[in-house]
């Protein structure tokens, strides 16, 4: 240790930094050992085509987001434009939810990845650069920083990042994991419309898509649900999503069709029958609507809204018939 301090200043800094980190995050196991031992990733990878935006002061959020949005096909996503959308002048930085919001505004699905090195590698090896939040300081004295992981070298156990003003920042896997872990392993993957992230998990993905639907960004939500339906034929939520969009666009026949698809996959979900009942009422298929509403009420005995379904639908039928 002391011998190390005799070497030139930058090295001393590194050693000191390492020591600080060591003392700072003793708690909780790291994942890198397991990843290395798994021998899953044996060839080096580096996504050379990933654009590089040397950040202006404090603007690593806009720069990192521009990098991954451009890869996903949003050509006009420049750091300057994104700074307007994600930069908080008084905090001299960008918040995570602002990055998610700006991604939605660019009509892309902001997929917050599972918090594992394995998921990270899965994405990078599939060609998707990953935006990560790092804490380059200490847990109690954080230095938040966004960077983009673009590569990994299994032999030297090093991660390659586009980071700040450095086009190819090389960081040991171990140190990278420590900085990432202190930011709760937060990572964002953005793919082209209709393409699932390689590591995508159904519920996580639906959590990323549903807000787009809520904000009436229909096209990107439809493409995302369609991709999910194809990838996970056993997930009813894709079809509920497609049905709900169709309903909100007043395509009630399409809505009905998708709700039936969802019911075929999961016949136990009350909400699907509830929504189906509405889609049927809107098409004046009153008897079918009544039985769907009854089904919803029967399936969810302790859900107040579902219990009201038959009465609500009866009222809607009366209103329709005037």
């Amino acid at each position: 240790m002391f011998r190390n301090f005799a070497v030139r200043a930058p090295m001393r800094l590194l050693v000191l930094f390492g020591a600080l980190l060591l003392s700072a995050c003793a708690a909780g196991p790291l994942q890198y050992d397991e990843l290395v031992e798994s021998n899953q990733y044996t060839t080096p990878v580096e996504l050379l085509d990933t654009p590089f935006h040397p950040q202006e002061a404090y603007q690593c959020g806009p720069a990192a987001l521009a990098t991954i949005l451009q890869v996903s096909g949003v050509d006009d996503a420049t750091p300057e434009r994104l700074a307007d959308q994600v930069y908080l002048p008084e905090r001299q930085g960008s918040l995570q939810m602002e990055l998610l919001g700006a991604t939605r505004r660019a009509s892309r699905v902001p997929y917050v990845m599972a918090p594992t090195l394995d998921a990270l590698m899965t994405e990078v090896y599939a060609g998707n650069p990953v935006l990560v939040l790092q804490n380059l300081g200490l847990p109690r004295w954080p230095m938040w920083h966004y960077a983009v992981v673009i590569g990994y070298d299994p032999e030297d156990q090093q991660v390659v990042l586009r980071s700040g003003t450095t086009e190819r920042e090389i960081m040991s896997l171990r140190r990278f994991e420590r900085t990432w872990k202190m930011a709760d392993y937060w990572a964002l993957v953005v793919t082209e419309p209709g393409v699932l992230p390689e590591s995508a998990e159904p519920l996580r993905y639906f959590e990323a898509v549903a807000p787009l639907e809520q904000q009436q960004r229909w096209d990107v939500a439809i493409e995302a649900y369609q991709a999910a339906a194809e990838a996970w034929p056993g997930e009813a939520t894709s079809f509920i999503g497609l049905g709900n969009i169709a309903y909100q666009q007043q395509r009630y026949g399409d809505a009905e069709f998708n709700y039936y698809q969802a019911i075929e996959i999961n016949p136990e979900q009350a909400a699907t029958y509830f929504n189906l009942a509405w889609a049927l009422v809107r098409q004046a298929k009153f008897n079918a609507a009544r039985s769907a509403a009854n089904e919803a009420a029967q399936l969810a005995a302790d859900d107040e809204r579902m219990q009201q379904a038959p009465a609500l639908i009866e009222q809607a039928i009366e209103d329709t018939q005037g």
Binding site: A9, R12, L13, L16, F17, Q55, A57, Y58, C60, D84, Q85, L88, P89, E90, R91, Q92, G93, S94, L95, M97, E98, L100, G101, A102, R104, R105, L133, N135, L136, G137, P142, M143, W144, H145, G164, T165, A183, L203, F206, E207, V209, A210, P211, E213, Q214, Q215, Q216, T237, I240, G241, N244, Y247, Q248, A271, F274, N275, W278, D302, D303, L312
Partner: protein, 115 residues
């Protein structure tokens, strides 16, 4: 009248006129996908929806943090209720990714102090 209060009031009423997020959803009758997904995650039956006032409040906060008023509206529109609640909770404490330059400077200072 306090400046922030004027801002807040202006945005609240302004947003009632301009902001679709403040108007009632056109189809409140069906169960939204958002609610279904939230239920699946939490195993709960009801989604807590952000009060409109909280949205106005966070808008005012964003403006105080230096964001242009019109832009603040657009940012809020692009976030989910859960994200907005998180934001309202503590804007000062949330991680704001910034520059690595600060880190290097800081390390240098520590180094000077400790050597």
């Amino acid at each position: 009248m306090k400046k922030s209060l004027i801002y807040g009031t202006t945005f609240f009423f302004g947003s009632l006129v301009f902001n679709t997020a403040f108007t009632a959803p056109a189809h409140a009758d069906i169960v939204s996908t958002q609610e279904i997904v939230t239920e699946q995650r939490a195993g709960i039956n009801k989604t807590q929806l952000t009060e409109q006032l909280e949205r106005a409040d966070i808008q005012e906060q964003l403006v105080r943090y230096g964001v242009d008023p019109q832009e603040a509206l657009a940012r809020i529109d692009s976030m989910t209720d859960a994200e907005i609640m998180e934001l309202t909770a503590d804007m000062e404490e949330l991680p704001a990714g910034a520059s690595a330059v600060t880190v290097i400077l800081l390390l240098f200072i520590i180094w000077i102090l400790i050597r």
